[in-house]
C-alpha cells in the first residue's frame, strides 16, 4: 500500500484535513472543540510544564498501517538529520526535560538512531522508543535491536492492535501479528516484560475500526491472558489509544461511511476529567525537520507552535513555551473521549 502522499491523495494535505474536520462539525451540528473547552472554562489550554520531548525522527517505516496518522511507509523519505538530532540533545541537556520519547515511522530506520539513543542515555534521561516490532526482521542489521534496547535499558513501546492475527493484520499488514509475536519472544528472551528485570515492554492498543476502546484495565488482562497462554509472550502494560480522525484513519472513516457518526461518538464521549491530564500539556513534539508542535497529531496537521525559526528546536525558548496557548482543533475530541487518550494510554485512571 502506498502512502497518501505517494498517491497524491487530497488527504495528504493537512489543510484539506482541517477543512473536512471543520465541515463535519458544522454539518452535524457538533460543538467545535474550542467552544467546548470555553464553556467548561478550560480555554485557552495551557501547558503544565515540559517533561517529555517526543521526537519524530522520520516518516520512513517498513509498514504501511491503514490507520497511521503519520502517513508513514517505505515510500516516505523524511528523516531527521544528525544536525537536528544534536539540536534535540542540546535542548534536553539545557532544559531539564526528564523523558525522551522517540517515534516515527520506524525510528530504528533513522541511520543515526543508535548513536542518538546512546547520547540520550548518557544524559541520564528516561528514553522510550516506539518500536513497531516487525522492524527487527526487516533487515539483518536490525536483528540485534532487542540486545541493543536492553543494553541501554530503554523502554520499548510497541503497537499491537489486537491479540489475534486476523484483526492485527487487517490494520497493519499481512503477517504483522506473527512477526510481532516473534519479536516479543526475542524481547522477552533478553528480559523485556519480565518481573524484576527492570526492562519495560508496553503494548499499545487502538481499535481496528470506527469504534472506541472500552476499559484499558480489562483489555490489558485479556491481552496478557491470550498472549501468554497461546503464544508464551509477556509484557508490562497495555496503553489504549483512540484513533484520531486524521490522515489515513480519516480516509477510512470517509470511504466506509463512518465519518460523521465517529465524530458524533467522540463528542458524545467527551470527558472533562481528561483535560487536566492531556499529553499536550506536558509534552513537546519535534518534527523530523526540527519544528515544535503541541503533540504528534498537531505535527501531522502542520499546526506549528509559533512562526518560523523562532519555534525550532535549535531555538528552544522554555519561557515562551511554558506560557503558550496550546493549539486545538476538532481532532482533539479524540484525546478527550471516554477515559482519555494519550501516548501513555488512558488519561483518567
Amino acid at each position: 500500500m502506498k502512502s497518501l502522499l505517494a498517491q497524491h491523495h487530497e488527504l495528504s494535505q493537512s489543510g484539506r484535513q482541517l477543512q473536512l474536520l471543520d465541515e463535519v462539525v458544522q454539518s452535524a451540528a457538533i460543538t467545535p472543540f474550542k467552544e467546548k473547552l470555553k464553556t467548561l472554562g478550560f480555554y485557552p489550554l495551557k501547558p503544565t510544564g515540559i517533561d517529555i520531548l517526543q521526537i519524530n525522527v522520520g516518516k520512513l517505516c517498513n509498514q504501511t498501517c491503514k490507520h497511521c496518522h503519520v502517513d508513514a511507509g517505505p515510500d516516505r523519505k523524511e528523516i531527521m538529520s544528525r544536525e537536528t538530532l544534536e539540536q534535540c540533545l542540546e535542548a534536553v541537556r539545557t532544559s531539564g526535560i526528564s523523558t525522551v520519547d522517540i517515534t516515527g515511522g520506524a525510528p530504528e530506520l533513522n541511520p543515526h538512531f543508535r548513536w542518538f539513543v546512546k547520547e540520550c542515555t548518557q544524559l541520564g534521561v528516561k528514553v522510550m522508543n516506539r518500536c513497531n516490532l516487525t522492524v527487527i526482521f526487516s533487515n539483518k542489521k536490525y536483528n540485534d535491536l532487542p540486545e541493543f534496547f536492553a543494553e541501554h535499558k530503554i523502554e520499548v513501546v510497541s503497537s499491537l492492535p489486537f491479540y489475534n492475527a486476523d484483526r492485527t493484520d487487517r490494520q497493519r499488514g499481512e503477517g504483522v501479528f506473527a512477526a510481532s509475536v516473534k519479536a516479543m519472544k526475542l524481547l522477552n528472551a533478553v528480559g523485556y516484560g519480565k518481573a524484576a528485570s527492570g526492562l519495560i515492554l508496553n503494548l499499545v492498543y487502538n481499535p481496528t475500526g470506527a469504534f472506541l476502546s472500552s476499559g484499558q484495565q480489562v483489555l490489558e488482562a485479556q491481552f496478557k491472558k491470550v498472549l501468554h497462554e497461546e503464544f508464551d509472550v509477556v509484557f508490562n502494560h497495555l496503553f489504549t489509544i483512540t484513533n484520531m480522525p486524521i490522515s489515513r484513519f480519516l480516509d477510512f472513516l470517509i470511504t466506509s461511511g463512518n465519518y460523521e457518526s465517529y465524530l458524533e461518538k467522540l463528542l458524545a464521549a467527551f470527558n472533562p476529567a481528561t483535560v487536566n491530564g492531556l499529553m499536550c500539556r506536558n509534552t513537546l513534539s519535534v518534527s523530523w525537520d526540527g519544528y515544535l508542535y503541541d503533540c504528534d497529531f498537531n505535527q501531522m496537521l502542520d499546526l506549528k507552535i509559533g512562526e518560523g525559526d523562532a519555534m525550532h528546536i535549535k531555538n528552544l525558548d522554555l519561557n515562551y513555551l511554558n506560557r503558550r496557548e496550546i493549539i486545538v482543533s476538532q481532532h482533539c475530541y479524540g484525546c478527550t473521549a471516554g477515559a482519555g487518550s494519550s501516548c501513555g494510554g488512558e488519561v483518567v485512571k
Binding site: 489486537f162 491479540y163 486476523d166 484483526r167 469504534f211 472500552s214 476499559g215 480489562v218 485479556q222 458524533e264
Partner: protein, 110 residues
C-alpha cells in the same frame, strides 16, 4: 425511503423520558446497574446482550451491542458463537414443543 426502523432513532433512545421521565429515569438507572461489572464481567454481559438482541430481533440492540462487544475486545468468533447460542435456543424452543406434538399424535393414533 420510509422504514419502521431508522438507525438515527437509536441516538434518540434517551429521549423516551420526554413522555414519562420518572419511569425512563428508573429504567436507565436499572439498565446501567444491570450492565455494570458484577458476578459476571461487563464483557460477558455485553456478549449476552448481543445474543439476546438477536433472539428478540432488535436491530437497534444488534447495532449497539455489535459495537459494544468490539469495544470490549471480543473477537468476531466470540460474537458469532453468542449469536449461535441465541439461534440454538430459538430453534430448540420450537423443537422441544415437538414432544407435545408427538404426545398428541400418539394419543390420537392407534
Amino acid at each position: 425511503m420510509k422504514t419502521y426502523y431508522n438507525p438515527e432513532d437509536l441516538k434518540k433512545f434517551s429521549n423516551i423520558g420526554e413522555f414519562d421521565k420518572p419511569l425512563a429515569d428508573k429504567f436507565f438507572s436499572w439498565y446501567g446497574d444491570v450492565f455494570a461489572e458484577g458476578a459476571l464481567t461487563a464483557r460477558e454481559k455485553s456478549l449476552i446482550a448481543l445474543a439476546v438482541a438477536h433472539a428478540v430481533q432488535c436491530p437497534y440492540c444488534i447495532d449497539a451491542y455489535s459495537e459494544d462487544t468490539l469495544a470490549k475486545g471480543c473477537t468476531e468468533e466470540q460474537m458469532m458463537e453468542a449469536v449461535h447460542v441465541a439461534a440454538a435456543i430459538r430453534g430448540g424452543s420450537s423443537l422441544v414443543h415437538a414432544t407435545q406434538m408427538m404426545n398428541k399424535v400418539k394419543e390420537l393414533t392407534m
